[in-house]
């Protein structure tokens, strides 16, 4: 198990390093200096930038100092918003984005698993077709289109929910719904297919031969094994929810990190783009790592194969 964790840790650090390096290389290779763009004539900002990125030093020194500042979680100043550092923006925006993401993933996982199990247990029945119909639609309709439809109908026309911003639970309903539908659909389909496969396994037949009740067979024997693959895609789903939140936060005017990120893209505010990318990547990679560890704990086979193997 320790070896398994160490190996995953190594991959994690390598991936992080590649992303940080990639952002640096890309920024340096932007035609002209990204920190000199025409719109930027503010003296103070320019000085801050030069100081943070050590623009007066040779490239390799810049790179090393950049690595150091990232390692100490200092992402430097913003170009377009003087007197604001990237850290300020993250500190303000990230908690809101994290809240949105957390609620979304909870909603998506619970509803997706329930939908998937119902579909599998009523294989080829009406519930199955309905659940999978919902799931295919959920995957097919991009979240920004769903969000617009929701605002148009539920907020503007029928006035059931507020149109935008992030203040009360009522404000959360529409953005969470728009953001959770896609991941929910993916989880539902995956749960259904693995559940169907697990239900044909010999150990399920064996459990039936023991005279266990169907409820016990499903909860104790089938579900746990069927949910393993769901855990493996959690990382991918988190990434999807995170990038999805860029758009959703913009559409619903939620003052989260995603909104600042999109604004920074539109303004070509490179330090913010770099900082946010690195921060989000690091966040996701750590999440992926935790998912891997969780999987290792839940599946008893991994411990031994990793111990014996290699």
């Amino acid at each position: 198990m320790l070896k398994y964790i160490l190996k995953k840790l190594l991959v994690m650090v390598l991936t992080l390093w590649i992303i940080i390096t990639l952002t640096f290389v890309l920024m340096v290779s932007v035609p002209g200096s990204p920190f000199n763009s025409e719109g930027n004539s503010n003296e103070i900002v320019q000085q801050n930038l030069e100081k943070h990125y050590n623009l007066d030093k040779p490239l390799h020194v810049q790179y090393l100092l950049y690595l150091k500042s990232v390692a100490t979680l200092d992402f430097g100043p913003s170009i377009k918003q003087p007197n604001q550092t990237v850290n300020d923006l993250l500190g303000r925006g990230f908690p809101i984005s994290a809240e949105l993401g957390f609620i979304t993933i909870i909603v998506a996982v619970i509803s997706g698993i329930i939908l998937g199990i119902l579909a599998a247990l009523r294989h080829n029945g009406i519930i199955d077709y309905m659940a999978m119909g919902i799931a295919v639609l959920g995957i097919s309709i991009p979240n920004f289109i769903l969000a617009t439809l929701l605002i148009q109908n539920l907020a503007v026309n029928w006035e059931i929910f507020p149109v935008a911003t992030w203040k009360s639970p009522m404000h959360m309903v529409l953005p969470v719904f728009a953001l959770a539908t896609g991941p929910m659909a993916i989880i539902a389909r995956l749960t259904r297919s693995t559940m169907l496969e697990v239900l044909t396994q010999d150990y399920i037949k064996m459990a039936r031969a023991k005279g266990l009740t169907p409820w016990k067979i499903i909860v104790k024997h089938a579900l746990r094994n069927a949910l393993m693959p769901v855990i493996t895609i959690m990382g991918t789903l988190l990434a999807g929810i995170m990038t999805g939140s860029f758009v959703i936060e913009q559409i619903f005017a939620i003052p989260g990190m995603g909104k600042y990120f999109v604004e920074s893209i539109n303004h070509r505010d490179f330090p913010v783009i770099m900082g946010t990318t690195v921060f989000y990547s690091a966040f996701l990679i750590v999440m992926l790592f935790l998912v891997d560890i969780a999987y290792g704990i839940l599946d008893p086979r991994i411990k031994v194969t990793k111990k014996e193997g290699e």
Binding site: T15, L26, M27, V136, F144, T148, F246, T277, S281, I285
Partner: protein, 317 residues
């Protein structure tokens, strides 16, 4: 014990005497009823045809491709000519899908958008498949150390958040048709490579591959003739999922200001441009691009599902 299920009601006691003769050997051969054996692809096609949803998806996609090619020809309007007097016309006999805020015909623009969205989708899928097959094929076939190194690279690339890298690349390169396709495929091929590798690893130990190896067949030939045809199923299924996710990614990029804007707009750009318009009641400007994005993704998804069922040898009976 009774045997009354036989229509003749013959039993041991009343069986006619003349039937007690040895059987002619030739009769035996006549009775060997051979079940028609279908080839893999024919069998898969037979099963796909039975899947109504998948076939509807296929038909929709064929029609979509045809309209993307020929649609603009039938339209009297140009996709980019702005007619300010014709702003926000609702759908009518003249403008089937209405006009947008700049007085451009949405019908014509939709098919132009289809060209771009489909081109991005298919190109991304094609490049993914090419790199994925080469990488996964070599990695899986060579095995051992080569495989180990190649898989570590994949593992690291897999950990990099896909859309973040795409955004980063586009911010630097500037959004255009070419750069979007490049950005989408830089790490996009990883999934395909994994699938190909898994398939190749499984098949390479089958008898027929070992046999051709023992005859001294060269590696590229074994990969081409022995392995690839048998890995095509999962590859095709993966492709049907890559195309819509590329179309989605392109639309997503349009929304965060990294879309292709000139000269013709993609569906994503059209939808993004119309976000404000729908609040003022001009729903059609958003509806048509949004409908086609969603329905194209839907068609690819159901087709992919259908293909997966049809091509899965486990279900063959």
């Amino acid at each position: 014990m009774k045997s009354n299920q036989h229509p003749q009601h013959f039993t041991k006691d009343n069986a006619p005497d003349e039937w007690f003769t040895w059987r002619n050997k030739n009769i035996k051969e006549q009775e060997l009823v051979a079940r028609p054996s279908l080839s893999y692809w024919k069998d898969a096609w037979r099963r796909l045809k039975k899947n109504f949803l998948a076939m509807s998806g296929l038909v929709f996609l064929i029609l979509l491709v045809l309209m993307a090619i020929f649609g603009p020809i039938f339209s009297p309007y140009d996709a980019n000519t702005q007619v300010l007097s014709e702003q926000y016309q609702p759908p009518s006999a003249e403008h089937w899908f209405g006009t947008d805020g700049a007085g451009r015909d949405v019908f014509t623009r939709t098919w132009h958008g289809a060209r771009i969205s489909l081109f991005v989708g298919f190109m991304a899928a094609l490049i993914d498949v090419t790199i994925g097959i080469i990488w996964g094929g070599i990695s899986g076939y060579k095995g051992g150390r080569t495989d180990n190194v190649m898989m570590r690279i994949i593992e690291i690339l897999y950990g990099i958040p896909y859309l973040l890298v795409v955004i980063l690349l586009l911010v630097v390169m500037g959004p255009s048709l070419m750069t979007i396709i490049i950005a989408l495929t830089v790490t996009g091929w990883v999934g395909m490579a994994r699938i190909v590798r898994g398939q190749v690893m499984q098949i390479k130990n089958y008898e027929y591959v070992l046999a051709s190896k023992s005859f001294g067949t060269k590696t590229p030939r074994i990969i081409r003739k022995g392995l690839l045809p048998n890995t095509m199923g999962p590859i095709i299924v993966q492709m049907t999922l890559t195309v819509p996710s590329a179309i989605f990614a392109e639309a997503f990029l349009s929304f965060i200001g990294l879309g292709i804007s000139s000269p013709n707009a993609s569906w994503g750009v059209m939808a993004n441009d119309s976000l404000g318009a729908i609040l003022s009641g001009n729903w059609w400007t958003l509806f048509f691009p949004a409908f086609f994005i969603s329905f194209t993704m839907f068609a690819f998804n159901v087709l992919g599902d259908g293909l997966q069922d049809a091509l899965d040898p486990k279900l063959r009976k």
